[in-house]
Symmetry: C2
Subunit: 249 residues, 2 copies
């Protein structure tokens, strides 16, 4: 079982057909011997590495859950710094239904490039129609906003992107995560972890979510307390945005 | 420049020779037009996805830094749940020198498999001799301990692994990260982010580290406060370990 599951996964990783060219996440899940929620994370060029991987670490521990990285095409998808690539095991054409959709964020260039991909935007819209939960991390909120999913709703995004989100008729809320119906948006980058624990509680109950927090030893103690624009002040805000811009390709 | 850098990276991603079969991280860095620190992260089968990606998100924003994922062989390396694969852009044979080595953690099976790979252990030992900083996250500490790097030192690891680390003559410390000379060990999974900010301060100064905390909007506010074994209590400890075991392939 275990080895057969790994075989399937390695086949998928290698881009081989493995379990049928049009396998949906549910079939992927079944092929993996899992019976829990199917969680799909959308990847696209120049995403930020922690946006999908923070939630993936936590949500992949939900009982029976399957987490699948999905992109317009199968294969490596590179981050905004160009340093790291995550593998998309499925293309959007292969995934027709998900219990949970996670849309991570990326650089400004990344988001504008997704805006030029109608196939990807249509897929998000189509998948959202049948999800239990549709979620975003950081600037991933703009992909939801672009297809009208956030219009008139309370939502959050990366701290410096607030004014742009409001242009979509969204009420920006400065929280780590914001729920509006079945849509949950998270603040910048690292906030995906807080959102994932909240989502874990909604999906599997408080005890499981609390245990998952311990499972990933999430007892944060950063050396500083400058993680929000208010705490950081103008100089650090400017430096943060410059460091980001300089690191992006 | 940007497109040429991307070309190099995509060539590497595709496993093409790109910039010479024995390119070291410094050459990778140069080929990417970067002049800052070379940071290498060791991947191996069944690692935990957040262990390398938390530090990668933060350290890849250091001025001029290059983060390179490295494994015994180039190509996709899959996590302990089998759900996600990160791409190793370089094999250990291609990397001869790093300013910073990050050794992430993984499942118990993952660590015992690394113990059976003398080529990998020798590479870690050889690279460590010339690093500025050698670091680990979670059970990655056992890879450093196995080759004697932690003997007689203070260090930390995943909360439930404490007794095993002490068998290596290591003084376990229940902190998010522990520095002993040029070696820095981090606690479980999510602690790599706290460690990366500490390391960023050592490498680039406090202002840069504080700005990086804002750059990744690391202002943690998990819905619960059960991220350490003491706060969680016995029932959640047992549930956390069961959820982990059940999620691992």
């Amino acid at each position: 079982m275990e080895s057969s599951r790994r075989t399937v996964l390695r086949a998928a990783a290698a881009g081989a057909v493995g379990i049928g060219v049009t396998a949906g996440a549910a079939e992927v899940s079944a092929a993996q011997g899992k019976t829990g929620p199917t969680i799909g994370i959308l990847l696209y060029d120049r995403f930020s590495i922690l946006d999908p991987t923070g939630p993936a670490e936590i949500l992949s521990r939900l009982p029976g859950a399957t987490v699948t990285m999905i992109a317009e095409r199968r294969g490596p998808v590179r981050t905004d710094t160009g340093d790291v690539a995550l593998l998309a095991d499925r293309s959007i054409d292969e995934v027709h239904r998900l219990d949970v959709l996670v849309v991570p964020g990326g650089s400004g260039k990344a988001i504008s490039q997704v805006f030029e991909r109608p196939r990807v935007l249509d897929w998000v819209k189509r998948i959202h129609e049948r999800t239990q939960w549709t979620t975003s991390v950081c600037t991933g909120a703009f992909i939801l906003a672009r297809i009208g999913l956030l219009t008139g709703l309370r939502a959050t995004t990366y701290w410096s992107s607030k004014p742009y989100l409001e242009e979509y008729g969204v009420e920006y809320v400065a929280e780590r995560y914001v729920r509006a119906g079945k849509i949950i948006t998270a603040a910048g980058v690292s906030a995906g972890q807080d959102m994932a624990l909240y989502l874990a509680a909604l999906m599997a109950g408080e005890q499981t979510a609390k245990a998952l927090q311990l499972a990933v030893e999430y007892d944060p103690r950063p050396p500083y307390d400058t993680g929000s624009p208010g705490k950081a002040g103008p100089e650090l805000r400017e430096l943060a945005l410059r460091l980001l811009a300089d690191s992006q390709i």
